[in-house]
Amino acid sequence: MFAFTNWSAFSKTIDFNGLDNFRDLFQSGTLTRDLRTTFIYAVLVAIFQNTFGLILAVFLEEDTRLNRFARVMFFIPVIMSALAVGYIWQAVLKTDGALNSLLSLISGANVQIAWLGSPVWTLVLVAAIHGWKWMGLSMLIFLAGLKTIDPDVLEAASIDGANRRQIFWKIKFPLLAPAFTFNVATALLGSMNGFDIVQATTAGGPGGSTEILNIFVWRTFGKGLYSQSTTMSLVLFVMVTAVALPLIWFLRRREAKTL
């Protein structure tokens, strides 16, 4: 079954392509640029998603009614379509969109910031949106991690005079390691294969600065350049494999430890 989706198809691409496509893409600079963009995007998403998720988890750790309600609300973006999330944020961040009009209202001046117009910061913003969509899931997994911490350990620490900050950084944070592995891995892999959010907010712009590999695959595919599109998909495959193999090893080792 797995062979059907990947391996046989994979070997076929080599037969079809030759190395010309690679050379073309490499020489035009698209390949290196898109690779770099994808990689930066994935790292940023992993950072955003886990920082947001961890802050929320610590913030909503206690089981009060309000916190429980907030957890449910923060999970709503997770179940929404990524495409929809992208469009909503595009409307918020447009130059004449909601955020600027809100800022104008507060400051009294006419704010005209092109949030999605900067070649440098747009990528960061889009990664933050991706993080926003998935932070609810990270939050839940961190919460589950926090719940598995043995309360005796926490009690011992507080008897020994540790303050809340010390308890968090010295005890809870290290014990969250398994939840971290899971979250970082899923965030990295999800964003490397990302498409919808970027397509909906910027479609790769401005000037190709947010063009991650899957956007390129779709764009060239739309133009009928199947071979280029395939080449890029292959590059993505190789890149993810390079990141994934150590990760698989890591996940498997963890699994062996818990058994």
Partner: protein
């Protein structure tokens, strides 16, 4: 993690925390929670609802103000007919339900075998199976393959692709769990004369329900909301909800028609939101229970 510590932990955790928290602290915390929710969730969702209720002229520059008169229902009606939402909804259901079902069934069957046989070749097969968790499918080549077999642009083709993609997720989730089930249960059944199929369906499968629920939730979310693979494979021949949203939003006709895009988003999110509203406790505990083993 044993179930005993899991059940007891929150209680004691609470009492430790309560001892340290003063009453003002609790109130400040509650206010902060509300503020954070308003900032992070309130703004986008408010914008979504308000804009979906506006007329075209008002919605060209989406902002937070209330519409001069609500025409949410008219907008809904427009997108339902123009966006072919009814057939898209059934298309999505027809693709998602069999895909999830087959991925879970085959995935747990494979996982059972992979977990019980501990020979070296099996370990390799397992590593290969879960590597699909991480490796991206080569979309274009898959599409060409489907074209050759005449399956591209059809619902069965799409189902096949999704099952292939998410099988590894299911195998990964389930294998670890099966290893924690004592083999003696199955041996007892085998001695009583049950065949492998009977053992699987009457003994193993019911025990798998907690993990399978986690896997169901995640895989359903992925498939229901996916656009990337369906864009390639269906190429506009079948209506799916996210696909039609993409078409509605990128068609020149609808450019800047935020009120329609947002009306579509609200309607499209409703089915999963309704399911979530009814089963949120189960879903949340399902995810947290299955992910951190």
């Amino acid at each position: 993690m044993s179930s005993a510590t899991y059940g007891a932990a929150p209680k004691v955790n609470d009492s430790v925390a309560v001892n340290k928290m003063s009453k003002t602290h609790v109130i400040v915390h509650a206010i902060l929670v509300v503020v954070v929710m308003l900032l992070l969730l309130g703004i986008p969702f408010w914008l979504l609802i308000v804009t979906a209720g506006k007329s075209q002229a008002e919605a060209i520059n989406p902002n937070m103000s209330l519409p001069s008169h609500w025409q949410l229902l008219e907008n809904f009606r427009t997108v339902i007919t123009d966006g072919k939402m009814v057939s898209a909804f059934f298309g999505s259901v027809l693709v998602t339900v069999p895909s999830v079902f087959l991925a879970l069934l085959f995935g747990s069957m494979a996982a059972w075998v992979l977990a019980r046989r501990t020979t070296k070749p099996m370990a390799i097969v397992y590593a290969l199976s879960i590597s699909g968790l991480i490796l991206p499918p080569a979309v274009v080549t898959v599409m060409m393959l489907l074209k050759m077999t005449g399956l591209s642009g059809t619902i069965p083709g799409m189902i096949g692709v999704y099952v292939g993609i998410y099988l590894s997720t299911v195998i990964f989730f389930v294998t670890g769990f099966i290893r924690t089930i004592p083999v003696s249960l199955e041996e007892a059944a085998r001695i009583d004369g049950a065949g492998p199929a009977r053992i699987f369906f009457t003994i193993v499968l019911p025990l798998l329900l907690p993990t399978l629920s986690t896997a169901t939730i995640l895989v359903t979310l992925y498939i229901w909301n996916d656009v990337f693979y369906s864009l390639f494979i269906l190429s506009g021949k079948v209506n799916l909800l996210p696909l039609n949203l993409y078409n509605v939003a990128s068609a020149g006709l609808y450019l800047n028609n935020w009120h329609l895009i947002f009306a579509y988003i609200i309607l499209m999110s409703l089915p999963l939101l309704i399911v979530f509203a009814f089963a949120q406790r189960k879903i949340i505990s399902g995810i947290t229970g299955g992910a951190v083993k």
